[in-house]
């Protein structure tokens, strides 16, 4: 039972968890000792399932919904085994504090790495199956018949021999008292009725009516609003500020220092806080990083391309010797810039601190990490803290690993005990204090024999390690294993799709002062650009068809090859594409594997004589093993191209005098409607494994387009973003 539960967020907004059937309390925000928690309590069947007397099924979802549809997909998995009426399914989040108190009954809350479904499919389905068996057992006990004679479907339990029926709602209270069965058997995938279906999302209506509450929208009694400015130079500190100059402005409650690097203004409204903060002159102690710039970072990375301190991520044979002996060598250097996640909803958290308890309401991709950050900032044990997850206005990795904004919110709340304070970052703050896509360069060298066959490949990656910046404890002997995403030798996570007789992939770690983060697609993004572009370079240099060359190298990688073939088949690779608007259309291919899934894409582009790029269509294939909700996979694939093409066309955060130069969407443009190509998704669900879908496709967006641009113009773009490059024909 979760009788102590205060709130959770469901598709209807805030619900009192376990409250009597249908008690939707609107936008009620609970506080400790809230009277609404005294309402009648419905027992849960198990951690995942609550059944109300009216047969409404509440499915608990541990992962965070941020647009990727995990709320719906995970509910489908539970409901599949539960055999409940899908039309009466609703969802709610358990809190991280409850998870802690219940020995992590809901497992991992982390919602990153496209992990929502692929990491928890087994135990959430078992949760559904266990609940079904308990409901059936309760009915059987009531009828005094063997449970084996009873069947459940659509929330109705039937005893076939006698024809008796009952519903889940009627036996739920009894079922909740039973001991869970020790053994559960999950359905054979061929018997799935909900999994694999193109079901509508559970959270759409709220989002088209403006009723969905995001963290930025929270209000609660007595709440104040905070705006913040952190030192724009990474690692800098606050030297001084003249609070008196703005304290008399209307609505201002407090001007305060947050940690040693930020200043916040707390006011009755956020707009008053923000404008007062803008009027405040702050003197910064910029610290040593003020000398850094994108040029100095590039110089540092360039030196790493030939440095001797590299660690090996993947190798076979002897690439260096084979390169030296090659009849012909091809070499190219690529680079990938820093980029901001730029979630539409800027970072925010509402915190309320007392010496006894700290509560935080925030959009987070990892409620447990948010709780740990809150507890640390609060100076209280985690058991005396709680985090309430609020729906995310975008995540893309920014809201997962590092909860810097939560620490700030708690720090502010701590200076105003008992008062709930909502900290909302301005867009400018969000742009200047991201956890940026890591910056890397890559030197690729291929050795060829007289027939143009690749005898050796050396990929030297130089640059930033995400783990070194975020989880340094996970660096092993100088090796960041995440660095080699999509380039690993083998394994179910992110393996390379090609075989080379001699291969060396190594990394010289070079970490600039810009804080890195997991950015949707992570290191797969640049790794796929490097390898897929360079293979096209080899194809061109050896006058081979890019598809034919790949196929030769992919003989031992059938799953990688299958998605590439699916793309080639859909576009009819052997038939040239028709002209569009008098412009000749050219194609580019890319494939990779990451987050447990195999993906490939073909981009069709034209480039005018003036160098104007138009991306007409992208055909993409994905093999996530099992496809839980194909229409949402299509949505994720389309979204991946919007995100990946934003990065390829425009994405760049440049550093000058130790700070980022781009501070809003006018200087950090992203893909809009007019740039968006048609996207056709081919789902190749080969079964037998569970891969992610939110991220892998991003990595093929840029290389497919870059290869198509080369086909169109003969220009090989090796440095992103494209906005800095002229595609004008010479």
């Amino acid at each position: 039972m979760i009788a102590t539960n205060k709130i959770s967020v469901s598709r209807r907004g805030f619900l009192a968890v376990g409250a009597s059937a249908g008690l939707v309390v609107g936008f009620h925000i609970p506080f400790a000792g809230d009277a609404s928690a005294q309402t009648a309590v419905i027992p849960e069947i198990n951690a995942w399932v609550v059944v109300r007397p009216d047969d409404t099924v509440v499915i608990r979802i541990a992962r965070s919904e941020m647009g990727q549809g995990t709320l719906t997909g995970l509910a489908q998995l539970v409901a599949e085994e539960l055999e409940c009426n899908w039309a009466k399914v609703t969802t709610e989040y358990p809190t991280p504090g409850q998870n802690l108190a219940r020995n992590r009954a809901w497992g991992n809350f982390s919602t990153g790495g496209s992990r929502g479904i692929r990491e928890s499919h087994d135990y959430v389905r078992k949760g559904g199956a266990t609940a079904r068996m308990m409901l059936v057992q309760a009915a059987a006990d009531d009828w005094k018949v063997p449970a084996a004679e009873c069947r459940a479907a659509n929330s109705v339990i039937t005893h076939a021999p006698s024809g008796r029926t009952t519903t889940y709602g009627k036996v739920a209270a009894e079922a909740a008292r039973l001991t869970p069965p020790a053994q559960v058997t999950l359905k054979d995938p061929k018997d799935w009725k909900l999994v694999g279906k193109r079901l509508a999302r559970l959270d759409t209506i709220e989002k088209v009516t403006g009723k969905q509450i995001y963290g930025a929208d929270l209000t609660m009694p007595g709440m104040l609003n905070a705006a913040i400015k952190d030192c724009p130079v990474f690692g800098g500190k606050v030297k001084s500020f003249n609070a008196a100059a703005i304290e008399k402005r209307p609505g201002i409650k407090k001007v305060l220092r947050v940690g040693d690097s930020a200043v916040a203004v707390v006011a009755d409204t956020w707009w008053r806080a923000k404008t007062a903060l803008d009027a405040l002159s702050i003197e910064w102690d910029n610290g040593p990083n003020v000398v850094n710039s994108s040029a100095s970072v590039a110089q540092m990375l360039k030196a790493g391309l030939d440095a001797t301190d590299a660690v090996v991520g993947n190798q076979n044979g002897d690439a260096k010797t084979a390169l030296a002996a090659a009849v012909r060598r091809i070499e190219a250097v690529y680079s990938y810039p820093h980029q901001n996640h730029a979630t539409m909803e800027p970072m925010n958290a509402t915190a309320r601190w007392t010496p006894e308890r700290c509560e935080v309401w925030t959009p987070t991709q990892n409620g447990e990490a948010a709780l740990a950050a809150a507890a640390e900032a609060a100076g209280l044990p985690p058991a005396k803290c709680e985090v309430y997850k609020i729906h995310l206005g975008g995540g893309y990795g920014r809201r997962g690993a590092v909860h810097d904004w939560v620490r700030q919110a708690v720090d502010i709340a701590k200076q105003m005990p008992g008062i709930p304070v909502k900290l909302l970052w301005s867009r400018e703050e969000d742009m200047l204090h991201g956890r940026y896509h890591p910056v890397t360069q890559c030197k690729l060298q291929a050795g060829l024999d007289a027939q143009g066959n690749i005898t050796a490949l050396h990929m030297r990656i130089s640059g930033q390690s995400i783990l070194a910046g975020v989880f340094p404890q996970n660096i092993r002997n100088g090796l960041d294993p995440v660095q080699f995403q999509g380039l690993n030798a083998e394994g179910p996570e992110a393996s390379i799709g090609y075989s080379f007789p001699n291969l060396l992939i190594d990394h010289a770690m070079r970490n600039p002062s810009v804080p890195p983060g997991f950015w949707r697609g992570v290191n797969l993004n640049q790794n796929a650009i490097y390898l897929e572009s360079f293979l096209d370079e080899i194809a061109s240099a050896t006058q081979q068809d890019p598809l034919a060359l790949r196929r030769k190298l992919m003989v031992s990688h059938p799953k990688h090859l299958a998605v590439l073939n699916a793309v080639a088949e859909r576009v009819k690779w052997d038939v040239p594409p028709p002209d569009v608007g008098g412009q000749k259309v050219y194609r580019g291919l890319a494939q990779t594997m990451g987050f447990g899934s195999y993906v490939a894409a073909c981009a069709e582009v034209s480039v005018s004589n003036d160098g104007l790029l138009k991306i007409h269509r992208i055909v993409a294939a994905t093999d996530p093993g099992y496809a839980v909700n194909p229409q949402q996979i299509e949505a994720q694939v389309e979204g991946s191209f919007a995100y990946g093409l934003s990065a390829a066309l425009f994405g760049e955060c440049t550093q000058k005098d130790g700070r980022m130069e781009q501070d809003n969407f006018n200087t950090y443009p992203v893909v809009q409607m007019l740039h968006m190509p048609a996207v056709e998704t081919v789902i190749v669900a080969s079964g037998g494994f569970w891969g992610g879908v939110g991220e892998p496709t991003i990595a093929v967006a840029a290389p497919a387009v870059l290869n198509a641009i080369f086909a169109a113009t003969g220009k090989r773009i090796r440095d992103l973003p494209l906005k800095n490059q002229s595609l004008k024909r010479a």
Binding site: G69, A200, Y214, W271, M344, A635, F665, N666, V671, M673
Partner: protein
Amino acid sequence: MAKLNVNGKVRDFAVEGDTPLLWALREQLGLTGTKYGCGIAVCGACTVHINGVPTRSCVRPVSTVKASDKIVTIEGLSPDGSHPVQKAWAQLDVPQCGYCQSGMVMAAAALLKAKPSPSDADIDQAMTNICRCGTYNRIRAAIKVVAQGGDTKSAALSIHHTDGSTT
């Protein structure tokens, strides 16, 4: 004091005249469906209608909006999500994170009122709002669904809804 006509109701409230309409709506009137995204009229998350014209409310000072101007926000577009644009959005499961969608819906509603059968170029020109999740193609399809009187066939999506219908 300011006086605004929002969603058919005249509302009086105290606010500095240079406060953007967005923040008056969100903080004085509690209408949080209209979102803050950039504060410089680039992303469109704050789009509302003023006398039917799609307006980026984050840079529009309250003092420049007359009491006679009719403001419509996402909360007032329809009482129950039944505006044709909202219906098409729901039928095609357009939103992902959803944060930009109030602005998208308001921009699309204004476009379709001005041009009931917009071309792709019209859509590109009118729908300059930013979506980071990448719902653009379903937005385009949903606008066409509205233009075709609610017929979802052109979207070719095949989505099963809990009411038993299939888009």
